[in-house]
Amino acid sequence: MRRLRSLPPRYWLVLVVVLFFVGLPTVVPSFQSSEWAQVLIFAIVIMGLNILVGFSGQISLGHGALMALGAYTSAILIHRYHMDYLVTIPIAGLLTGAVGFLLGIPALRLSALYLALATFALAVVTPSLIKRPADLTGGVRGILIAAPDPPQFAKDAFGAVTGGSAMTSDQWLYYVSLMIAILLFWFAWNLVRNRPGRAMRAIRDREVAAAASGINIAGYKTLAFGISAFYAGIAGALYGLTSGFVSPDSFPLALSFQLLVGTVIGGLASIAGPLIGGTFTFWLPIVSSQFVGSQPWIPTQIASTFKDAGPAVTYGALLILIMIFAPNGIAGLLASGYAYLRRRLLGAADRKSGHMPPDPQTV
């Protein structure tokens, strides 16, 4: 009991967040479950991207391409080989992870800037590459994926909790995404807390010193690439399932860019960051084009300008502002805000134990 009570507040926060997400589909309309499922899907990619960019310091502007690989792997297995959709998800993840690991090898030779450039070019060429093997990928017609029926046990559980409503496919896919997100979150958390995480951070901060300490730079860097690709592949498969369709235009350059933006805005090298980033990545275009316009208290001129300008302008401006004023992203802002409050309220040191508050960046 004492251990429970002395858990840092962030554990309670995690519990609250998990409960919120578990309960969400029971109270909101079905299509919103589909929307929040996409938030979780983006959060998964961003978790992976975070490991790569935030913890091991390598930039990737091409994770949209990796998502595409995962999505198409899953879609092709379902459509051509009639595999069960749930089975295709880990397969998509593993295949994409392997490809990511292989991509990490030439990436070792590229400095940060050039890696950004190379992955940027990869993201741009991805839709064209998808169209090429048209027999396999369906080319420009894409591949349609049937909306899976929820299994009986899920329907029963859902009906019991909500007093009889039938569980829709969107809601079921939401729960699938949520379970996977929680699992992958736990995995990432462990990775970051233990040796691989420390090694990556050492590489990120002072590569030469890390090498001098005997850390296998090449190994960890390619591992980071592989893991982040694994996450992207799984998220890609889920992305295809929730949309019910994969096509070359589903993975434009803008997607890769949005993912990086989400990672940074959520907060690099933070654990909560991906969820914030995923929320932001998904909701921003919708908010900027619809929400602003529908609020009566915003003058029409501003609202219609906002709406007509399109999400690109808001993205760009927000990105710049956040990098200038809050380089640790929103998670960083929240963490420093919390630390600040704590210091004000409790004094610099914790009164009972005399310990200084922990560094908000470590776990």
Partner: protein
């Protein structure tokens, strides 16, 4: 054979386009050791400014230099407002900021000017000239010629003037330069201003050859990156030579390699980028630098 020569000549013409934008990239790199992802968008925006001026009745020959001045001022302004706060931040931050800038400028251009394709005038005629059996238009030649002139100017600036030396010193050794009294920050701003002006020139030359619209430079910038990387990211000569090589290679690959075909030409640029960076990171004309621990 005729086909081959035409492809070659047209490839050189394409290459001129890539070279003109690559020169701006090289200038930024010389000023701050960073590649500016927003270079193409800034060039496009400046071209739209020229378009608006001409639409308001300004003579082309007045709008042209006026736009270059505006672009220069714009570049300086952007550096002061957007880049300066993150000047000393890690590379990742800067990359993201320039990406954000690219998105912002592109979206703003679309918002202000619309997405309809526009006609943009050129001092060069559309007529073609016959070069060893292949045809190339005066406009294409104009792009190459302008790039060559800009190349010379940049080379002279960077290698033969004190200002250029100061700029390069500020980029490579900011701390030491500060100790020597160099206003590093303003060197950076100057570099951005010049790059922006060069980009504007590129846009003004290229828009008549293609079509003026907000997405004008979206794919060109990648080919320009390939050109800059191939030529050596620091070398203006490399940018032009690299541009011409990329232009020709992309054309020939598209025509003669069935896997590439007409629709995977960008993959060739990607291959060039990755290939050069992995095999000879300094490109054709770059100099190897030693990284101090």
């Amino acid at each position: 054979m005729q086909e081959f020569i035409q492809l070659l000549v047209s490839g050189l013409a394409n290459g001129g386009i890539f070279a003109s934008l690559a020169l701006a990239l090289v200038l930024i790199y010389n000023a701050m050791g960073l590649v500016n992802f927003a270079q193409g968008e800034m060039a496009m925006f400046a071209t739209f400014i020229a378009f608006t001026l001409i639409g308001r009745g300004f003579n082309y020959w007045i709008a042209f230099p006026l736009t270059l001045v505006i672009a220069f001022a714009g570049g300086v302004l952007i550096e002061r407002v957007v880049i300066r706060p993150v000047e000393r931040a890690p590379v990742l931050t800067l990359v993201i900021v320039t990406l954000g800038l690219a998105t912002l400028v592109n979206g703003t251009a679309g918002f202000l000017f619309g997405y309809e394709p526009r006609v943009f005038p050129s001092p060069f005629s559309v007529r073609t000239v016959n070069i060893i059996g292949a045809f190339v238009s005066y406009r294409d030649l104009g792009v190459i010629a302008t790039s060559a002139v800009v190349l010379v100017l940049i080379y002279v600036l960077l290698q033969r003037t004190t200002l250029g030396l100061t700029m390069r010193a500020a980029a490579h050794h900011p701390e030491a330069s500060r100790l020597l009294g160099v206003r590093v920050s303003w060197m950076l701003a100057l570099g951005w201003g010049l790059a922006s002006a060069v980009g504007a020139l590129s846009g003004i030359m290229v828009a008549p050859v293609l079509v003026l619209e907000p997405n004008l430079m979206q794919t060109i910038i990648i080919y320009a990156f390939a050109a800059a990387v191939l030529g050596g990211i620091e070398s203006p000569l490399g940018a032009v030579v690299g541009g011409l090589i990329v232009g020709v290679t992309v054309n020939l690959a598209g025509a003669y390699i069935p896997f590439v075909g007409g629709d995977l030409q960008l993959a060739v640029a990607l291959a060039i980028i990755v290939g050069v960076l992995v095999i000879k990171p300094n490109g054709l004309f770059g100099r190897a630098s030693v990284r101090n621990v």
